[in-house]
Subunit: 457 residues, 2 copies
């Protein structure tokens, strides 16, 4: 049955690629309101394709943003697990357009890769799952597992609509695990499985001093400068080794197990690569942790922006009336965004001198996500990668946050499996985004292996 | 001779006031290019008035900005001192216009004061000097001292044109002392003499980290955040008592003599007034110095503005590529702007960690100004105040900087005497600016007393 599916897929590479081209040609940029109709069009294209290939109840469900494409195939029986498949059909804006070698919405194959906006993030990966389903249904008339699809259109611009959608449709989305196809390899031939994502907590801190900008000649030396106060607070957030000084901040941080450290140490990440990516020569941060550990397994407290007083050309001799800064903390298991925010707030207030007023405005956050790696789903993913690429995946802790994954974890309480096939430097958010055809076709096979393996096949 | 001059002035109050109204009616706002012709018109009005009353060689000399009104009367003889009279005919903008009770360029007398833009800053004070000269020339055909006038038109907007003018016309401006009529009383009946002004040194500090704003999920924990670095630098500029921590910064600061401290202690400045003016409840700064001492006799290092990263609404999870801030130091005798700036620069660079690049861009500065109070000019000023108001002036160190005064001090090497007659809350830069008629008329008499006293009369 699996063999027949694989054979069917291989026989239809060209048609599948042509269908991917159709979807890639729709400029479904979710952030730009002038592309609202294009997002709708991409959703409808997917509904039509899913319906044609045998997915039931395929439809575009409204949200507060762009529609979510839903569909299901639930005929594998009660004993078979149900997989909720997540992806997104919206894409990033295309600026700067002048750097594209071919137009972003006219897909082109060059040197074995499809070039187009959305090629790897995420239309190419959505389509390899959809075409895996199509191959299995066409070859055997059935899927080894029950399947629900949730393909959203707001991933690149606004996490709120999908979060609301998940909360509102908990019953519809009921499943045993989530399959996310939106990540990538460490290098060609080196698959990886991110098994955790960092959470997020954030706040804006506003410091108010004098009732108006003051003449620094008339008052300088007597008025506490709000920018200085804010700077003192920011400076007190870290010690000279990059440790966060918020009392209790690390209390709930789950320690890295020796085998995790060993696994992360096996992740190839040469300093030269970090230097090239960041443009910085010398890394910074907790010296007792490696770069990969700092990004994936350690929390941060970052100032994302700051402002206050005169920012124009030349000089203005004032004591600014106000200053402000935005902060986000990246959280790891088992930190809680609310607890972390409260500790941040308490610490900032404890640093505030009596001459100024401090206002702290919380920003939306999300908890960290962590999937145990000894689950049957993760083991099935390992097996799928090994079978298709002949190499075991590397387990990685991801540094980023995908708010909807936290929503899924918190609302649906099911393991999240990230199977991803992008290669580094695919330009997911940059000009000349591309996706290697080999990854597209092999990814399709990996998904088929995964589904069969999940069934215990 | 002085008596006849005073009598003449008193007999012509109404005409002098009418002439002040004429000058106040010209909207000579130097900052706004649409008022360029009005500035020219105000200069020409003054040239005509000076010529009519007997000042020689009165003319509007071009500068890189608005013209300087020059004139002279040098017939007092070689044994008489020469006084360079400084003032300005340009005025501040009038926004917010809606808050004015009468139009800013339609002078009106209400409750014993002239209301108009420029009434006190500085047309009213320029005119009281000019009318003092007129009274003395009309009553006796001569002045007790030689006089040169330098009435500029850029004071409210740009210090450069006059600074260039002074450097370019050193010979023309040669004099024994400068009389500045552009300051004020501490309170009705309480004249004061500012005998020092703070200098200024400034720089912009730019911190560069990654080559672009980085995703804080992918890199947070490994990249030193430029805003954090800048904050650490700013936080290190002061200790918790408000002392500046730049090594050597205070080395050249002239200590306050016991008699100066006593004089400053006599300056009435209730905390309630400071609170009302600043909108702050609790003062800040070096605890071993009073508020007046901190403002007038102590240097500062102030951050005037800061920026970096994301300043918009909501959040953006980035590590900013860059951050910057503007700084100015207010300097006191005998600090040097270049030395202070070098120490600031060295200190900032010493605080910079190796993970970032620091660029320091100097801004224009000026040295502090200090006139010894035991000069004959200052003693003449004391006598003039005492004679007209029956109260000795309070000696005050001013906190602000008037760059042209530093130029005068450095280029002409002559004592600067600030005789000023504005009252507090005259709205010099605000709506409903006004100047009390009594101050206008008595100020005129004080100037006549001052000139006679200078001659030794």
């Amino acid at each position: 049955m699996l063999d027949k599916s694989l054979t069917h897929a291989r026989a239809h590479h060209d048609r599948y690629l042509a269908q991917l081209f159709e979807l890639l040609s729709i400029p479904s940029i979710s952030a730009l309101s002038e592309h609202k109709a294009d997002c709708q069009r991409a959703a409808e294209w997917l509904v039509a394709d899913l319906t044609r290939l045998g997915i039931k109840n395929a439809r575009a469900l409204p949200t507060s943003g762009h529609p979510v494409v839903y569909g299901e195939w639930l005929e594998a029986g009660d004993s078979a697990p149900t997989v909720l498949i997540y992806g997104h059909y919206d894409v990033q804006p295309v600026d700067p357009l002048g750097l594209w070698h071919t137009p972003p919405f006219e897909p082109t194959v060059r040197a074995g890769a499809v070039y187009a906006r959305g090629a790897v993030d995420d239309k190419g990966q959505v389509m390899l799952v959809v075409k895996a389903l199509e191959s299995m249904l066409a070859a055997g008339g059935a899927l080894p597992v029950n399947v629900k699809l949730m393909i959203e259109g707001d991933e690149e611009s606004n996490p709120a609509p999908l979060a609301e959608f998940v909360v509102a449709h908990k019953d519809l989305l009921k499943a045993d695990s989530v399959l996310v196809c939106d990540t990538g390899f460490l290098a060609p031939g080196r698959p990886c499985i991110p098994y955790s994502l960092r959470g997020l907590a954030g706040a804006e801190v506003r410091v108010s001093g004098p009732k108006t900008d003051l003449h620094s000649g008339a008052y300088g030396g007597t008025v506490h400068n709000p920018v200085s106060v804010l700077a003192t607070i920011i400076a007190a957030l870290h010690d000279e080794h990059g440790h966060i000084r918020i009392p209790g901040f690390y209390d709930e941080v789950r320690a890295l197990a020796p085998e995790e450290r060993a696994a992360l140490a096996a992740v190839p990440f040469p300093l030269e690569q970090w230097q090239a990516e960041t443009g910085v020569q010398i890394p910074w941060g907790e010296p007792e942790f490696s770069l990969k550990e700092r990004v994936g397994a350690r929390p941060t407290c970052e100032v994302n922006g700051i402002w206050g007083g005169f920012q124009g050309e030349g000089g203005k001799t004032i004591i600014p009336a106000q200053a402000g800064a935005k902060f986000t903390m990246r959280l790891v298991a088992d930190q809680d965004p609310e607890v972390s925010l409260r500790r941040f707030t308490d610490y900032v207030l404890s640093l505030a001198p009596p001459e100024v007023k401090i206002e702290i405005v919380p920003q939306p956050g999300c908890p960290p996500v962590m999937t145990p790696i000894d689950t049957r789903e993760i083991q099935a993913a390992v097996k799928a990668y090994e079978t298709v690429w002949g190499a075991p995946p590397i387990f990685l802790r991801g540094g980023g946050s995908i708010p909807v994954m936290a929503t899924v974890q918190n609302e649906l309480h099911i393991p999240i499996v990230m199977l991803g096939f992008g290669l580094p430097d695919s330009g997911g958010h940059a000009p000349n985004e591309h996706f290697e055809l080999e990854q597209f076709y092999k990814g399709m096979e990996a998904v088929m292996h995964y589904c069969h393996s999940l069934r215990g096949g």
